[in-house]
């Protein structure tokens, strides 16, 4: 009960805080989800993508 009250007081009591937390949450979730899926993708396709073989051809460059 105390936890839910704290939760309510933190996020739902003021509409400004509520809306802001939704926007911030969406932003954070978007980034986190992208990073998670990219990690899975890169792990699955290890050694096949351009970024995995780029170093072989870029050593001479100063980039």
């Amino acid at each position: 009960m105390a936890l839910s009250t704290a939760f309510y007081n933190t996020f739902f009591k003021r509409n400004s805080v509520y809306v802001t937390s939704i926007f911030a949450g969406a932003f954070a979730f978007g980034i986190g989800f992208d990073v998670a899926v990219s990690n899975v993708w890169d792990n699955w396709n290890r050694g096949k993508q351009w970024k995995d073989i780029r170093h072989k051809y870029q050593e001479a460059d100063s980039e």
């Binding site: 989800f33 899926v37 899975v40 396709n45 096949k48 073989i53 072989k56 051809y57």
Partner: protein, 332 residues
């Protein structure tokens, strides 16, 4: 005579007979009739032979075996067919090869794309154009920007007009498209005995079987079988519709030399150039699959969520019990 009819007919007859009440359980009625008229063992056999289950399973067996045969051999059994052409004349179907980018989560093998570009440049580009690919498209896919700049500068492009109103030649830039081997289709036909080497930009999408077909075609050159006559200047390839293809076999072991040390066998080159042309037809492939994963995860989560919310909101209504209390008549 009735006994020779199948169960369904009997049950219909039973339903029509005037001495019996019309009942939904007609099968029981007809078997009850047998029980009264036949010996017990004959009755069991008879009811087995005439039962509806036997009829249904025999029908299913017959239909199923015909369907299986038709699926397996492509024609109905015992019905002869005559074709003017043989299946080989529309081209053999290619085998399904385990491409490195075949799975739902698989990206292209970019080392293979790089090798495939080399094969295209050294072998295919002599006749085939790749109109929809610009030099810049290779950057970050198979080559670094500096490498592509060098590749582009090797080619002269017509640009202009300049201050005097004349066209001039300049070395290629990243924004230029890959050069065409022939100025136009007519020139291509004139140089190839009337056959037009197709543009390869979308060839993987444009042919049945896609990359499997390309690989099979490139590695499938054989001597024509007995009775098949191939005209002068044509070549036999069972995977090509009609069998006669103007393109000769061009991939032989060691035709190109890969810079990553991969042995340049015929099948390796065919696989690499097929991967390269798959990329050329679908450059968005990797990003598309990545977005697809995200979409599947998000939309399935949202679907599950909405199903749960629906059940939750409806639970009150679905569990509602309506009790009818009849009014008590107070006059008595």
């Amino acid at each position: 005579m009735l006994q020779r009819l199948p169960a369904a007919a009997l049950s219909k007859a039973g339903a029509f007979s005037a001495s019996r009440a019309v009942s939904p359980r007609v099968i029981r009625l007809s078997s009850a009739r047998f029980a009264s008229s036949s010996a017990a063992s004959a009755n069991v056999l008879q009811s087995l032979v005439y039962s509806r289950a036997t009829l249904v399973s025999a029908t299913l067996l017959a239909t199923g075996s015909i369907a299986w045969y038709t699926h397996l051999y492509g024609t109905l059994p015992f019905i002869g067919e005559v074709h003017a052409s043989s299946p080989a004349e529309v081209g053999l179907h290619p085998a399904a090869y385990p491409w490195s980018h075949k799975g739902w989560l698989d990206s292209y093998d970019h080392a293979s794309i790089r090798r495939g570009y080399l094969v295209y440049k050294e072998v295919c580009a002599a006749c085939h154009s790749l109109d929809r690919i610009a030099w810049r498209n290779l950057v970050g896919v198979s080559h670094t920007a500096d490498e592509v700049k060098v590749l582009a500068e090797e080619v002269e492009y017509t640009d202009g007009p300049n201050d005097e109103g004349e066209m001039f030649q300049r070395p290629g830039k990243l924004s230029d498209y890959l050069p065409r081997p022939y100025a136009n289709d007519e020139a291509a036909r004139a140089s190839n005995q009337g056959s037009l080497p197709p543009d390869l930009s979308l060839i993987v999408k444009a042919r049945h079987g896609g990359a499997d077909y390309l690989f099979s075609l490139l590695t499938g050159y054989v001597d024509p079988p007995a009775g098949v006559e191939i005209r002068e200047g044509m070549n036999y390839n069972p995977y090509f519709p009609g069998g006669a293809i103007a393109m000769p076999r061009l991939l032989f072991d060691g035709v190109v030399e890969y810079d990553d040390g991969t042995p340049a066998t015929t099948s390796q080159m065919a696989k690499d150039v097929s991967t390269f042309l798959s990329w050329a037809a679908e450059p968005e492939h990797d990003e598309r699959k990545k977005i697809g994963i995200k979409a599947v995860i998000l939309f399935s989560t949202l679907t599950a969520l909405s199903l749960y919310v629906k059940r939750f909101k409806w639970s009150v209504i679905k569990n509602r019990k309506i009790v009818y209390n009849p009014p008590v008549d107070k006059t008595h």
